[in-house]
């Protein structure tokens, strides 16, 4: 019967191997598309980073021209922020949010697909700027005018950069609205706000921040675009414009952006740590509310990026205090995570190693941030390699380590096979050691007077020693990252990966209730949720019955 029915029905082109991915509105497939595309750009941005480190390995190096170096640093920063960390978190959110809240998809599946394709388009536009007249954008990822104005950046690269960020902004806005509506409306029976997984809390907060902050940069970019192409002069002082306005508008977005890139990773850590400690999270409410508190305060600290702009001391003082206030909820999280491991039964699988690595490194990034918040000290270290070291501890040691933890943790759910643990541990340790060797010396370089964004230097001595060390570290880190891709190859192409059960880690949240990978509609049934750890409840119930 069934066979005959199949021959009658015309086979739609949409079911093809490639076409089915092009037309998909399934949140899981869109999530995987997001993650895959972001990893591609991660490799591209990583290559740019290694090029910069090679150029700076020794004084007066000539690997890159000064023009190429400025292009590379601009595209590296823009890539890692807009094409890697933000979208890969959108990818995890896409894949996991419906599963974690027991829904069958997001609220607006088509909008979701649109959001992904805009992301891809934005990436393509940014990377095609290499072929623009005058080359890629080269005014840095924050592109301060007047340097980014037509007079000083005459090529088309800067316009491609603006267009790309506009497209990516729309993509993120669509995604964010989708997440908010999904989380507010589609939680399964029994999942109250206080029973939501902490990752869901963090994606909700990420989405709210995107909705609040993105319009600001959209406005700034539009003004810059008009200045460059329509003869306006918002930021051109000789015509009555004010370049400091751009700095405010940019950082009003730019600082929340940092938390947009970190909060969901903190959510991942709050999922991984309890599972591998065999404990509940310590202080669920404190962790959830500190997420919201960080998001709120992140909207009030933007001018700490502008302490050297020459603001009145009163404003500097306000922004110092508001920045320091953020350290409090951040500290709460760190201590709650530590307490989560206390008296646990710790299993050091790769996701756990990355989560612990996150705590170790993010703490350093957070503490160096206190120096930067103290504005007189910032006057000394602002715009030096000290800042480069600081934000890489936050965004690489923090976000990227957490994301790798998330990849190892949810990989079996997404693809049905476990990544290799042996390779995973090498992956972690090489990244961890390489990361510290790369970025720890950069603190010293900054204090020794090395500014950011210089394509070369002529100092020998410690400048040379620390720079060379940093470059060696970046090589070690590169090998570590490559091992991840070797691991994926080994697991799937060489088919050596172990098949995953529904719940290989004995985890707590609903995504582990369904099969690995889940069916198109996610769940046959969803159990009634009575706590923040529905799967543990089920396991206990089963144990009682037998």
């Amino acid at each position: 019967m069934a066979a005959r029915a199949e021959t009658v029905a015309p086979v739609s082109w949409k079911t093809g191997r490639v076409a089915s991915w092009l037309v998909t509105v399934d949140h899981k497939r869109i999530g995987i598309l997001y993650i895959g595309t972001s990893l591609f750009f991660f490799v591209a941005g990583g290559i740019l980073a290694v090029l910069m480190r090679a150029q700076l390995a020794t004084p007066n190096e000539t690997l890159l021209t000064k023009n190429a170096y400025n292009e590379v640093l601009t595209i590296h920063g823009t890539t890692m922020i807009f094409l890697v960390v933000v979208p890969i978190l959108a990818g995890f959110g896409n894949y996991l949010i419906p599963l974690m809240i027991g829904a069958r998809d997001v609220a607006f599946p088509r909008l979701n697909a649109l959001s992904y394709w805009f992301f891809l388009l934005g990436g393509i536009v940014l990377y095609s700027s290499w072929f623009a007249s005058g080359g890629a954008a080269k005014a840095g990822w924050w592109s301060y005018p007047p340097l980014s104005e037509l007079q000083y950046s005459p090529g088309r690269g800067q316009d491609y950069w603006i267009l790309s960020l506009h497209i990516l902004g729309i993509s993120s806005l669509l995604g964010a609205i989708n997440f908010i509506v999904t989380i507010a409306n589609m939680r399964t029976r029994g999942m109250t706000w206080m029973r939501m997984p902490l990752f869901v809390w963090s994606i909700l907060t990420y989405s709210i921040l995107l909705v609040v902050a993105l319009p600001s940069i959209a406005a700034g970019l539009t003004m810059l675009l008009l200045d460059r192409n329509a003869g306006t002069h918002f930021f051109i002082p000789s015509e009555g414009g004010n370049p400091v306005l751009y700095q405010h508008v940019f950082w009003f977005f730019g600082h929340p952006e940092v938390y947009i890139m970190v909060l969901p990773v903190m959510g991942m850590i709050s999922e991984i740590l309890p599972v591998f400690s065999r404990k509940p999270i310590f202080g669920y409410k404190a962790v959830a509310f500190s997420t919201l508190a960080i998001a709120f305060f992140s909207l009030l600290v933007w001018a700490h990026h502008m302490f050297t702009t020459g603001l009145p001391v009163g404003l500097d003082s306000f922004f110092m205090i508001s920045s320091m206030v953020i350290a409090v909820p951040t500290g709460i999280k760190i201590f709650n995570w530590l307490a989560t491991t206390w008296r646990g039964n710790l299993h050091f699988d790769t996701p756990m190693l990355f989560a612990l690595g996150f705590i170790a490194l993010f703490t350093i990034g957070g503490l160096s941030g206190i120096f930067l918040a103290a504005f007189p000290v910032d006057w000394q270290v602002n715009d030096t390699y000290y800042v480069v070291a600081h934000f890489h501890y936050v965004l690489f040691g923090g976000s990227i380590f957490g994301i790798f933890g998330g990849l190892y943790y949810w990989w079996p759910k997404m693809f049905g096979r476990l990544l290799d643990e042996h390779l995973g541990k090498w992956n972690f340790w090489l990244m961890f050691i390489g990361f510290n060797v790369t970025f720890m010396p950069q603190h010293m370089l900054g204090l020794l007077g090395m500014p950011r964004r210089i394509y070369t230097y002529s100092h020998g001595g410690l400048w040379e020693g620390y720079n060379l060390t940093s470059t060696v570290g970046s090589g070690i880190m590169t090998i570590g990252v490559l091992l991840f891709f070797v691991n994926v190859w080994r697991t799937h192409v060489a088919r050596k990966g172990v098949r995953a059960t529904n719940d290989p880690w004995l985890a707590d949240t609903l995504e582990w209730y369904t099969t690995s990978p889940p069916p198109p509609n996610d769940f046959e049934t969803v159990p009634y949720v009575t706590s923040a750890r529905p799967l543990r409840d089920l396991r206990r119930k089963l144990a009682e019955q037998t």
């Binding site: 004010n242 760190i334 039964n345 620390y466």
Partner: protein
Amino acid sequence: MRRKLLPVFAFAIAATLLGAGAAAAANGGFAPQHPASPNAQGIKTAYWWIFGFTAAIFVLVETLLVVFVVKYRSRGRSRGVEGAQVHGHTRLELIWTAGPVIILAIIATVVFIELPGIRNAPAATNALHVKVEGHQYYWQFDYPNGARSINTLYVPQGTVVDLDVTSADVVHSWWIPQLGGKIQAIPGRVNTTWFQAAHTGTFSGQCAELCGLYHAWMKAKVVAQTDQQFEVWLKTAAHTELGQAEFEGVCATCHGMQGQGGYGPKISDNPLLTQPSGLESLVEHGRGKMPAVADTWTPAQIKALENYVSKHVYTGAATSGG
């Protein structure tokens, strides 16, 4: 396996501490550079206070992390064995909320105590007032008597120097690490900062805000001299050296120290160097890729450049030229 690794770890830690100790002794980048001005001193004091508190927190967090990792490792317990099902502890959580608040309040207080000494120049009747103007890619200094210098700021040692910092084109950032913090040079806006050189000598720094292709080479020096030396410099040398300083600080960036060419074309054989009006128009308005480097220069300055390049850079026209 674990036993074998122990000596390796011990060695690694010892080597790291030894290296760090040696570097710290030589101030290898563990604190801001040796201050030579009261504001830089104030910043360094604040830095060490913050360093003390953050180092303590660092040691606390990382130690707890390592201790818990070692102490609560599974030791062969299966995944099914649960750890202590502790959901939280309100009093503990309040402690690690209040603790950081207190520490941050202390840090903020230290900053506010140090702030006046960093931000405000000491009251002085004989303060020297200099206007600093950032250009792609040089610094220009204007002295009260109308003298101008390029890239090197000459000051008398011990005198309070007030700086009005601005820019002629894009955003730059003025920074001499030993003489205090940075301040952005923003077109259309005048920012102020100051320093007071504690001893004679040369203090170097470089532009700290990406300002274009030659950002890496936009360097500045402050030369602190005795009062007499400074007076002599201001009255005579400032004028006799100006042409050379302009050529080396402005033209040579692209055209090379001998005008032999580099990013820009070779100019040592270009007869334009001997043609005042042509040269003036070129440096004031720019042409093609060449920016209007001298758009804020005085006639005396242009004259000084003309004098210098026609005598010291021009080596005769190329045979094919005319």
